[in-house]
Symmetry: C2
Subunit: 341 residues, 2 copies
DNA sequence: CTGTTAGCGCTTTCAC
DNA sequence: GTGAAAGCGCTAACAG
């Protein structure tokens, strides 16, 4: 610990500039913020010192006094592929605006995993960010200090502004696809059952069966919890059954990929022996070999829409609920049953 | 939840808690921060109010007084795939620590694109974040107020702590691969020539030729600037030549993918008529059809290493320069010339 | 044990 | 035009 205890590089503050320019702190502030009522000569001198010293106003300090910071917050539980795709859309949409992006993953520390969205919001909202986009929040967010838009909230479209995907329709489409291929024993690997998105997907799965006049075999429904690690066991059981399903609709891509992994381990070929379809269309779905057939959520567009909506709200616009369409993306992991090579 | 509903949506501050608990602001602060020297009864009462009011300490305000915030900053120019892969590694490595991640893209607003790293650092460093990881900075960062580690700095390994990839070795490997396949007219689509990483890759390209006793045809070297949009024109020229190259080594995946796109547009088949190899191994490389053969930078691992190094520096450890190995990833876009189907 | 007093770096009245 | 003063929400001495 005997390193730089000397505090070698204190950041240059507004006071340093003021002293160097021979003016008051207040004057520097005005110059830097382009307020008028400052002599041109003074302004020029101060700017000179600013450049010379490399002064940058502290976002933190100024955010405590200002109302607008020109920063949009994106709060996520974790930087996983789903959130990242969204973030890319947000980033893209904010490119030509005056806003900076601050993405915060505030549930890193174990323990109170739940409520990360409320916590992040309290810690940064109202001060550091002008508005926030919250990715898959699992609690209701009302009475927030800044405008927020929730993307795919797991509690359903309850908050004021939300962007989500047609989970029910997408799931029905996935299941229909399997059924139309001729599959009659199709399993469903559910998501986190405490989340609406997972429930909607299960509903869609059932609806497709009903539409086709087929009965759902409830023993073919397994819990995958949206995470590969949580799904592994259930997948094993599913594939070890004597009357193994010929196809499976996994509630998201991560668990669908896990199905493929386990199936391959068991010596099963996908799609010859088992058809698999996922949900999300993460980059990993396209990157997998064989390419994962899945239901696409337009993540990028959702990020863009979230920005547009938030910006309009920041401008006094009304909240909205935007539902994006889901789309079937055919790749290589589904085919008719028994159509072995 | 019937507390202070008269107030609009002002965030609840430490003062609100103090008043409600009938103690001083300082006492609340001590309780919340677990300082000792507080009566158990007082502590309990305050905590009760905290829960009831849903108080969360403002990261901003406390960061102005505290030295440690338990937040690591990741500064990027933009949230593009390259940065995102890194971010995932960082996120992964920070999972089980007490640190939160704050990713900041501070060059969104057009204009002063350059110097974003310095700007972000000045605006957030020293106060909001305990340390920072900077992704592909293009300026030298010394005299910073907090420990930083640079990932793949485009100015070369000059800063105190840097993680980078063996650009020279990787480029040589890529070119060797093409040459060993039998290609004799191989083009190089350079990156941003003002950046060392791009220079190293060109050097590697030339070295591979020298090793094989081959001369480099300088007219086969084009500028791609690392961005698809900047490369389009040059690629057109390259492919419209009468003595079109049989293979091309693009300085990164984004431009390699653009080569494939343009080639396909021209009616050329990849790899039958043209072999293409990239650099980076972004998810898009694996996701592309045909899969892009490329040189892999272990982005995830680099993120992890950056965290480890930063954490150790935060703990008084010394700076380091870590060079990661590049690796050839064979997919579907390279094959022997003239081996048409 | 607890409250009072200073600020952190900045912006914003409001005098001069 | 410019500066002095009053905070923003919080923590860190220092008194009581």
């Amino acid at each position: 610990m005997t390193v730089g205890d000397q505090a070698p590089h204190r950041r240059v503050t507004i006071r340093d500039v003021a002293v160097a320019a021979g003016v008051s702190v207040a004057t520097v502030s005005k110059v830097v913020n382009g307020r008028d009522g400052i002599a041109a000569s003074t302004s020029a001198r101060v700017m000179g010192v600013v450049d010379e010293l490399g002064y940058e106003t502290s976002l933190i300090a100024s955010s405590m006094r200002k109302s607008r910071t020109q920063v949009i917050g994106v709060f996520v539980a974790e930087f996983e592929p789903f959130a990242q795709q969204l973030l890319q859309g947000v980033s893209y949409a904010l490119r030509d605006t005056q806003y900076d992006i601050l993405a915060y993953a505030g549930s890193v520390s174990a323990g109170d995993h739940a409520g990360w969205e409320r916590r992040s919001l309290s810690r940064l909202g109202g001060t550091l960010v002008d508005g926030a986009i919250i990715v898959t929040p699992t609690v209701n967010l009302d009475e927030t200090s800044v405008p927020i838009v929730a993307i795919d909230p797991h509690t359903g479209p309850t908050g004021p502004a939300v962007i989500d995907t047609d989970n029910f329709g997408g799931a029905r489409m996935a299941t229909e696809h399997l059924i139309s291929l001729g599959h009659r024993r199709v399993a469903h690997l559910r998501g986190r059952t405490d989340l609406v998105s997972a429930q909607r997907r299960e509903d869609g799965f059932r609806a497709a069966h009903a539409d086709a006049g087929l009965a759902v075999d409830d023993t073919l429904i397994f819990d995958g919890g949206y995470r590969a690690s949580l799904a592994t066991r259930a997948i094993g059981e599913m594939l070890d059954r004597d009357d193994r399903p010929t196809a499976v609709f996994a509630a998201n891509d991560m668990t669908a990929l896990e199905v493929i992994r386990i199936a391959t381990e068991r010596g099963l070929r996908v799609p010859e022996d088992l058809s698999v379809i996922g949900f999300d269309d993460l980059p990993a779905a396209a990157g997998n070999r064989p390419g994962l057939t899945t239901i696409r959520q337009p993540l990028h567009e959702m990020g863009v829409s979230a920005v547009r909506l938030l910006l309009s709200m920041l401008d006094g616009g009304a909240t909205e609920h935007i539902r994006m369409p889901a789309e079937l993306v055919l790749r290589d992991t589904t085919r008719a049953p028994g159509a072995s090579a």
